[in-house]
Symmetry: C2
């Protein structure tokens, strides 16, 4: 439903006020950014992003209250799960070969 990419896109739209600028900062095409926004707007009960193409303000995009709510819940989800999983992730990481070891062979 929502992952790191879409969450970042929402955050950048809120910060830049523009879907295309938000997409550009993530290295994605204008078209792809719009498609992701359309997907997000269609899967939630209310749209997450409101946009106007052109008009007096020259067009722009903002998060709706639902958009802000979803983004906030997602960031809290990340923070809580990262904290809750830190010990296990560290335990697994401690068993991994160091990243500099690229041999991969046995």
């Amino acid at each position: 439903m929502l992952g790191p990419g879409k969450a970042e896109l929402l955050e950048l739209i809120a910060r830049t006020g523009s879907i295309s600028q938000a997409g550009r900062r993530m290295g994605m095409s204008y078209k792809r950014a719009w498609m992701l926004v359309e997907t997000l707007n269609s899967i939630f009960v209310e749209p997450l992003v409101e946009s106007s193409r052109g008009g007096a303000s020259g067009g722009g995009a903002t998060l709706t209250p639902a958009g802000h709510a979803v983004l906030k819940h997602y960031r809290e989800l990340e923070a809580h799960t990262a904290r809750a999983g830190a010990a296990e992730i560290e335990a697994i990481r401690a068993l991994l070969k160091p990243p500099s070891d690229m041999s991969g062979e046995k």
Copy 2:
């Protein structure tokens, strides 16, 4: 490094004693199951799966102590993060359209 698929494969190897049977239960080819095991064995300091092809016992596979440890940490990671994220996931889910609504249009 490790996700739901590889964790399930490890668990099924432990349960079935066989890489190919474990793979089959996940609907994956013998080759793919072996490749995943080889990847796992190469990225960790110690191999996670020990296997013998043929021999008196007819071949088979078991998790090494490192394999059991990694799987245990991963399951704990899942349990802890699911618990920690439950409230936010529920909050996001409550804002999603019900899954039966496939219209997707605005």
